[in-house]
Structures are given as C-alpha cells and as structure tokens.
Symmetry: C2
Subunit: 219 residues, 2 copies
Amino acid sequence: MNLSIAEENYIKSIYKLQEGDTVVTTNALAYELETKPASVTDMAKKLKDKKLIDYEKYKGFTLSAEGKKIALQIVRRHRLWECFLVDKLHFSWEEVHELAEELEHVRSEKLTNRLSEYLGNPLFDPHGDPIPDANGKLTKPRPQTSLDQATAKRVVVTAVTDQSTALLAFLNAKHIKLSTQLEIVEHYEYDNSIEIKIKQQPSITISEQVAKNIMVRPV
Amino acid sequence: MNLSIAEENYIKSIYKLQEGDTVVTTNALAYELETKPASVTDMAKKLKDKKLIDYEKYKGFTLSAEGKKIALQIVRRHRLWECFLVDKLHFSWEEVHELAEELEHVRSEKLTNRLSEYLGNPLFDPHGDPIPDANGKLTKPRPQTSLDQATAKRVVVTAVTDQSTALLAFLNAKHIKLSTQLEIVEHYEYDNSIEIKIKQQPSITISEQVAKNIMVRPV
DNA sequence: AATATTATTTAGACAAATCTAAATCATAAA
DNA sequence: TTTATGATTTAGATTTGTCTAAATAATATT
C-alpha cells in the first residue's frame, strides 16, 4: 500500500478522532485537517477504494482493520521522533509536534525500529502518550490525572496539556519538567490552589488553572 | 522562499551536475532526476521566476547565488542525516542515501543545527563528502585517492565508490570499514593486486578491481 | 407533517507536477 | 550552405489534492 502524505494525514486524523469506535463525521475531519468538507468527501472516496476506511454516503467513516494498522504505524513514527527530538536533541515538549509531523512520513520500518531501539524502546512519548510497538500494540496509557485531581501524595509529571508559551515559561521558571517528582503538601479549598514541593526546594503554591494542565501519575 | 519537494530536488540535482560552474543541460538534468526533458523545461521556468536559477531558452541553466545557498542547505541536511543513520543507528553506507533523501526535506534550521551539534559537528559524511556548515561554507574535500593509486604507506578508508552488495559483502568479510586503517605492504605489478594489512590481523591480498573502489587518504 | 437548518455531496474549476507527441532550435556533417 | 541529427521547447492532456457554489440528504423545529 503506497500512500501519499495527504492520505496518511487523513488516516492519522481519523484515528485521532475515532477514540475507540466513534463514527467520524465529514465536518469534524475537515476542521481537524483545516480543510473543507468537500475535500474530505473526495478523499473519503479514495480511502474507501483503497479499503482503508468503511464509508457510506452521509454516514461518516471509521478506519478498517488495515486502516487502523497504518494509523498505528504513523503514530508510532510520530511519537518516536518526538522522543528523539526531546531526549537527544533537547527540544522542549511544545516544539516537537510540528517537526514530528514531517518526520513521521518517512516510511521505513527498518529506520523506525532502529530509532526505537536507539531510544531504548520507549513506551511513552514526551507528552505521556503511549507508543505502539512494531506490531501496533499499544501499552495501556498510564493512569494519569491532572494535578488538581490527584489523590496520591507523591506524583511524577507525565505531561502538560496546554502548550501555550506562557504556561511553559512558568513551568520552566519553577523547574517543573517531565518526570519531575512533586510532593503535594496542601490543597487550599478556598481557590483550589495547591502547595507543592519539589525535593530540595522550598515549596511553592500554584493556581488551579496551572494544576489543571499538569498531568501526573502516582510515583 | 517556500519550495516544494520537487523544486528542492531540482535545485539539488542542478547543484550536483554543476560541479563548479558548468552549464547544466535539460537532458542531463532529466536523466539525473529520472524524468523527461519536457518536465525539466517546465520546472526551469518556475525556478527562473523564483530567481533560483539563471536560464535562457536553449542555453541551459546554472544556479543563482540564492539557488546555490539553498542547494547547500539541502546538501547539509542530507549529509547530516547520513551521519546520524550510520553513527547512531548503525546503518551501513549503502543504505543511508535513500533515507537521507527523504529526511533532507524537513526544512528546520533549528533541527539541522541541533542535529549537527549532536553528531559533534562532523565535517564529512559517511561517503567522505564534506558537510556545509550553517553558513553554507564547505570544508575542502579530503585529499582522497583510490587505493590502487595510493602512494602513502599507511592510509585510512574514507569511502567506497561501488555500492554493489557483492563488494560490500566482501569488505564486510575482510573487516574493512570506514575509518579502518590499512598498511600497504606490497603492490604486485603483474596483476596490480595489492597486499594490505589491518593491524592485529594477518595481511591479505586484494584485486585491482576491489582496490579501485576503495577510497583512502594518508593517515 | 411541513418547514427550516445544518451536514454532506456533487459539479466544475484550479494549481502543481508530470507526461506524450509535435514543433522548433542548434549544431555537426556533407 | 544546405541538410540531417539531436536537444529543447511547446501544446495539450493527466493525476492529485484542493477549492467554491449549488444541490441534495438528514435532522431539528414548529
């Protein structure tokens, strides 16, 4: 199956919107891909011909088994490149998505597998999302919650959902990074702010708004 | 300047064929790009409009200053990725060209420079070709000759010109790799075969045909 | 149930990159 | 210098991915 970059992007976006087995609508996909519904309909026909999606007029689409397989390969490549960019080239979280978006289209299984090996076969990308293995199998995502919902006392940062420069600058200033261990000292009901402590540092208080965008898991 | 992948490939090939300041002909470029002369003429018009080449009907083309700059950026990315694939992912010489051909089209200066830094700012790629620096400056190529022409006694392997599986298998069996140091023990005039010695190993004799395809420089 | 609204598809067009076949130019040979 | 040959360009067509505007289907409202 030889797919164009455009076709790959459609497959990837359908996979993203599916989340389980929801039917994906024309409009939703057009919005996701920043294109027009008419273009989506055109592409849907092509992908149906290639048996990568199930599609009936006016009924939306879902990936076929083959389509899912290809989607997982693309996701695998994307997330591995993100790991590479962060771990090896020291990019920060928010910079890597765009670049990985391009690198993911280099379709070489050998390259992908070597890259994975080189990175130590990581199971999660820098945003905390699981990386499919060579067979397309996904580790179940870590049991992460946002920091404001956390019940454990000691947690480790797994992801940041808001990629705004403002938040990232804030986190940078406070030395909160991926894998940083936090101790939840106090939860103030009044404004839902949270007092946390990073080992060897004085404790700090962060607002609910910030806490909502920091994903953590129990350590 | 936002170039398509096709345009980048044309620029790169013109650069390759130019070698100094020779005028590149339509046919030569068509052959190099495995396309038809008519397509080359079409693209020549576009590149002329973008001021990347100098072109007059029936007179062939050369890169403009701007075109040369872009060509060097592409070459830089290509050769850095080749280094990455060989040094870090342990691909062998002959496998990397195709992959680098795809990776080179990710146009991010930041990525390119980080990659270069990560690799230790290499000056030569795995084939012995010089890598332009961030400003497009080229180190002058190493003074390499084919092994059968070598005058020095101790040399180091810098490249292999023939990429056939047969030759590569042979070299592999004899443990001759890039950067391998060789001592030239004897040169037999009868059949132009050469006796060489790799340190710690018994000396071996190789045919003229093999020697012609191994590039070396004095150590 | 009839009508209004929204979602989706169709029809027709366009730009990029390519092709084939025919025409034109440049140059080497007679 | 005329002719023949090969290189190059033009003309017109094709494919891919996109678009706008109009038509049609599905759904919600009255």
